[in-house]
């Protein structure tokens, strides 16, 4: 699934320390010094569910179908293993002197979390709640495939404490869904949204634009279909073809032709216009919500460099300037947890420069803006139509629609690269 909360490594990304060879000794997670200032940082938990019924051609997330996994690391045992890592996480943070903070957001991503029985997801959530407690207004999200839910499962999830569901709708147009290898019936989505609302869950829909063969009219149809379901939140991501995916091979062989950047710009502008018209406000480049309450606080925590622990194979974590990522494959992951070892594949301690770079990189994407104290820079960003004038008066870079499309350039300019 393509959502921002899929806090899962990329299979081809050069993760330092991520061994190809399971035999390589697992590095000891070093959380020294991360406790400083922890009381002022929120704690979130991401739970990765690395299973899908079918692998989509464009997907490069860390997920496996039953056939790909073969024996071992079974879906049945997975909740138990994840709970094992929750306990290891608690012990590691305790040992590093990190205060036990109530968890403000939990996000189950994948993969397809709803491939697991609702009871399994509930067990993991309860264990998290028992371990750290949940903040009173905690946001608890799960991703879901529209055809992997029923009114029954949604009711169970709501009863277990889930507050929010994010459907991978992607498109309303059959030929686009077919190119993406999405198997769900588009007609199923409004139904699944209605059931979720009935269950009292907030609803988010994920859309993808820029699929090979998608016209501007196709995209408009998808947007209008999504808006018609009146979700509380919408994400719209440009399709990025990652190396190593089936789609990358299709593009390389010329079977699929990627749209150019201008086409994607047109589609982004259309999305921004239609969503604004329908009462959605952007709060991050690719994310819109009906009200500030409906913004995804879990993702905002990522973008604002809060603390979160990523549970599950390939999950990424960040605590106080320390980043690490778990081993990718469910089997060595399960084996490590079984032996009461944190399943860490690699880690890095960010330098001050790196933290600054990341902060600019991430916060500039947010509608709340990125503070910048260089007046000449602010003036030039406004003059070039990249930043909004009023926030600039207050020393904040808030991107215009053009600026959102050219956010990389804005980042470079704030970091003084041009």
């Amino acid at each position: 699934m393509t959502t921002p909360a899929s806090a899962v490594g990329h299979p081809t990304a050069p993760d330092p320390g991520r061994g190809r060879h399971p035999a390589r000794p697992v590095p000891e997670l070093d959380l020294t010094g991360t406790a400083d200032g922890a009381r002022h940082r929120d704690l979130g938990v991401y739970v990765h569910i690395p299973f899908c019924a079918v692998r989509c051609g464009y997907c490069d997330f860390n997920t496996y179908t039953a056939t790909e996994l073969g024996g071992g690391a079974s879906q049945d045992a997975y909740a138990g293993t994840a709970i094992g890592e929750v306990h290891l996480a608690r012990d590691a943070m305790d040992a590093a002197g990190l205060p036990r903070r109530p968890v403000r957001t939990v996000f189950f991503g994948g993969g397809t979390p709803t491939l697991l029985p609702a009871a399994d997801l509930a067990r993991v959530l309860h264990e998290i709640a028992d371990t750290w407690t949940l903040a009173p207004d905690a946001e608890i999200t799960t991703e879901a495939n529209p055809d992997s839910v029923t009114p029954q499962t949604l009711a169970e999830l709501a009863a277990a404490g889930f507050t929010r569901i994010s459907y991978g709708m992607q498109s309303a147009v059959p030929h686009v869904l077919a190119t993406l290898d999405r198997t769900h019936d588009p007609a199923r989505v409004p139904e699944a949204v209605a059931w979720a609302k009935d269950a009292g869950l907030a609803v988010s829909l994920d859309l993808i634009y820029g699929t090979p063969g998608e016209t501007l009219a196709d995209w408009e149809e998808s947007l209008r279909a999504a808006i018609a379901m009146a979700p509380d939140h919408l994400s719209a991501y440009a399709l990025v073809v990652e190396p190593g995916t089936k789609m990358a091979a299709q593009v390389r062989r010329g079977e699929l032709v990627m749209p150019d950047d201008d086409d994607e710009a047109d589609k982004y502008e259309l999305a921004d216009a239609l969503l604004a018209e329908a009462g959605y406000r952007w709060y991050e480049i690719s994310n819109w919500a009906t009200t500030p309450d409906q913004q995804c606080r879990h993702n905002i925590a990522y973008w604002r460099s809060q603390d979160w622990w990523g549970i599950g194979p390939g999950a990424h974590s960040h605590v106080g300037g320390h980043r690490w990522w778990n081993v990718k494959h469910p089997r060595p992951y399960a084996a490590a947890v079984e032996q009461a070892r944190l399943p860490v594949a690699g880690q890095e301690r960010l330098t001050a420069q790196q933290r600054h770079d990341e902060r600019v990189l991430l916060e500039v994407r947010l509608a709340r803006g990125m503070p910048v104290d260089d007046e000449r820079l602010l003036t030039s960003l406004v003059a070039d139509g990249l930043a909004q004038p009023d926030p600039a008066e207050r020393g904040l870079v808030v991107l215009t629609a053009r600026g959102r499309l050219l956010a990389d350039s804005v980042v470079h300019r704030i970091l003084g690269l041009t």
Partner: protein
């Protein structure tokens, strides 16, 4: 061991192998001169009639070095255990590319009946860029072996050198090499050679440098056919420099042919072109390692070491005489090396500029023809405008800079020297297109070459078409045989330094060969085409072209840059202009989107690493006005598909 099947070799012991080795040697048993005979051919004490000075004229790949290797072994000057392939080629580039860049001279004893002779084999550079050095090497000889691959026949450059040798009245011994090859056609090519030099086909020797067949006969024929040197033994010394090499330990090593008189160790000698005086710290012969001698007498060939640190102090073609008894007249034929082709060399990493300067200073010590001066380019930063003898010379220098000095370089499109006369009568010499004067130009002259092209007769049409496209004027055409044609053209040098040779090769399936020599200058309707990015001139892409080709150059270069220049936040016009007149235009549309909308939630590291890579990329950006252009775009736009004549 005799006749042991190949399959059993593996089972042999080391001792067995040692005993089998002489069998291999049987094929070329050295004919080592007797001590008594050798005594009569000591350096400085050899009568001219016992000397034979010869060179080998051959095309690259026709086996000159391999033949030389066999001669070294047959004459016994290199022991077999010390033998290595291409023994005489010293530089790595020479050995790897199979090109002999710098010539040398090896002295080999060879006994015929009771008499020993000293054979001096003067190795000639094998490329058109070094034709002046070839001419000096030829001038040092009385005879030449015309060595031709029996499977390929003669090539244009060999032909040109053959003509040069004939002009020097050298005795020519025609030799077909590689007769061991299955594809060899010695009868066919013997006809061709015989026709060229006016002998009977049967007089062509057939050898194999690889197996040694016929090499002994060839050495005998050198003694029999090549005249002994004619010099005045008692006249004031005159020695011609035919090569000059810088050695890190010894300074300049100068190779000379003594024409008259003699030179002795410890004497003071004078270079007649500069009147500079040096002491002969060492004098000797190459046999084939440097071997000191008391001196060198008339007709002999050897080396001098004077302590000079720069080959410019010991120039090819110059005459060496002694200070105490100087000759009054220098030997004919000295010429300053003239750069014909210019190109800007720039370090890709600007901080390598001082390293590039140091490297050029070092190369210059060993390359009298290399010329350079600092130059600044808006697009490429600090670099040097360098003058070369030709394209191969350029390539070799560039390759040595990159390989021996570990530099990454960009070279601008090579150009020739133009003489521009303005309407007000002022004259400007242009070695860099961006210096082409603005204002009213009365005339422009360009250098021309007389080119010889040998091609299979099937391809005459395409070759003529190519030459016409390059403003060539046909001077003549001869059939060397029913299958091979010699075409002679006068061509502007500027038209053949770009990709002419590649075009020639592709139109003739690789069979044609090319040689050319400077043939004066001509007036031409030439204009400077500038390339502008958003109105700013990009100096590295300015070109001087014929007016009829200005448009196609403009379209080609703007089109190329359009593909290479990344989209900016504003529209970037790319224009080609003659003066203020725009002749071609492309537009790089403004970028509308650069953001990677899919921001991985948790995997921030990956995004930051992408940013860090972008930061690295920014360091290689050049600004042309407001337009940011990655260095790679310039490199790609300047890249040609080779252009070397090798």
């Amino acid at each position: 061991m005799r006749g042991a099947p190949a399959g059993r070799v593996r089972a042999q012991s080391w001792d067995d192998r040692a005993r089998t080795r002489p069998r291999v040697k049987d094929r070329y048993v050295p004919r080592i001169a007797t001590p008594a005979a050798l005594e009569r051919i000591r350096p400085a004490a050899t009568a001219p009639e016992l000397l034979r000075n010869f060179c080998i004229i051959a095309h690259i790949d026709h086996g000159k070095s391999t033949l030389a290797d066999r001669m070294l072994q047959m004459t016994g000057v290199v022991e077999e255990r010390l033998m290595r392939a291409q023994y005489l080629d010293r530089m790595d580039i020479e050995r790897e590319r199979g090109i002999t860049i710098k010539s040398q001279a090896v002295r080999m004893p060879w006994q015929v009946e009771d008499q020993a002779y000293a054979l001096n084999m003067i190795d000639t550079p094998g490329h058109v860029d070094f034709s002046y050095e070839v001419s000096r090497s030829l001038a040092a000889c009385e005879g030449a072996i015309l060595l031709v691959d029996a499977a390929q026949g003669i090539e244009a450059q060999t032909l040109a050198n053959l003509y040069m040798a004939m002009e020097h009245d050298l005795a020519i011994i025609p030799v077909l090499n590689k007769i061991d090859l299955p594809a060899a056609q010695p009868e066919r090519f013997a006809e061709e050679l015989a026709g060229l030099i006016g002998v009977e086909p049967e007089e062509c020797l057939q050898v194999s440098g690889k197996t040694g067949v016929g090499v002994e006969e060839l050495l005998d024929q050198i003694v029999a056919q090549i005249p002994a040197p004619q010099g005045q033994v008692d006249a004031p010394a005159r020695a011609m420099i035919f090569d000059s090499v810088y050695d890190t330990y010894r300074g300049v090593v100068t190779y000379v042919r003594v024409v008259d008189g003699h030179l002795k160790q410890g004497e003071k000698v004078t270079m007649m072109s500069t009147a500079d005086t040096h002491e002969l710290q060492e004098i000797g012969v190459i046999a084939p390692d440097p071997t000191t001698a008391e001196g060198l007498g008339a007709g002999e060939v050897g080396y001098l070491i004077t302590g000079a640190k720069d080959v410019r102090q010991s120039r090819v073609g110059d005459t060496v005489t002694t200070q105490h008894n100087p000759a009054t007249e220098a030997l004919a034929g000295y010429r300053d090396p003239q750069p014909m082709v210019f190109s800007g060399l720039y370090p890709i990493d600007g901080s390598d500029y001082p390293a590039l300067r140091d490297a050029l200073d070092k190369l210059k010590l060993n390359d009298a023809a290399l010329d350079y001066e600092p130059e600044t380019s808006v697009a490429l930063g600090f670099g040097f405008r360098c003058g070369f003898l030709g394209l191969l010379h350029l390539e070799i220098v560039r390759e040595r800079l990159e390989r021996e000095f570990d530099l990454d370089l960009i070279s601008t499109t090579p150009n020739v020297v133009y003489q521009v006369t303005m309407e007000d009568g002022t004259e400007v010499e242009v070695t860099n297109p961006s210096e082409f004067p603005a204002g009213k130009v009365a005339s422009v002259t360009e250098p021309t070459v007389a080119a010889t092209i040998l091609t299979p007769s099937d391809f005459v049409g395409p070759v003529m078409e190519l030459c016409q496209n390059r403003r060539g004027v046909m001077e003549g055409m001869d059939y060397l045989s029913p299958e091979r044609v010699e075409l002679r053209y006068t061509l502007p040098l500027g038209e053949i330094i770009f990709d002419f040779f590649d075009q020639l090769k592709s139109r003739t399936r690789g069979y044609a060969s090319l040689d050319y020599e400077a043939a004066g200058e001509q007036d031409a309707d030439l204009v400077k085409v500038d390339i502008l990015l958003q109105g700013e001139q990009v100096d590295a892409f300015s070109a001087i072209v014929h007016r009829d080709k200005a448009y196609s150059y403009g379209v080609m270069m703007t089109g190329k840059l359009k593909e290479l220049i990344p989209r900016q936040q504003f529209e970037v016009p790319i224009q080609a202009a003659i003066g203020s007149r725009i002749i071609a235009r492309e537009t790089v549309r403004a970028i509308r989107k650069d953001v990677l909308a899919k921001c991985y939630g948790g995997d921030i590291s990956r995004k930051r690493k992408l940013l860090e890579r972008q930061k690295e990329g920014k360091k290689r950006m050049k600004n042309i006005g407001r337009v940011e252009v990655p260095q790679e775009a310039f490199v790609a736009a300047l890249a040609t598909d080779g252009g070397g004549d090798s």
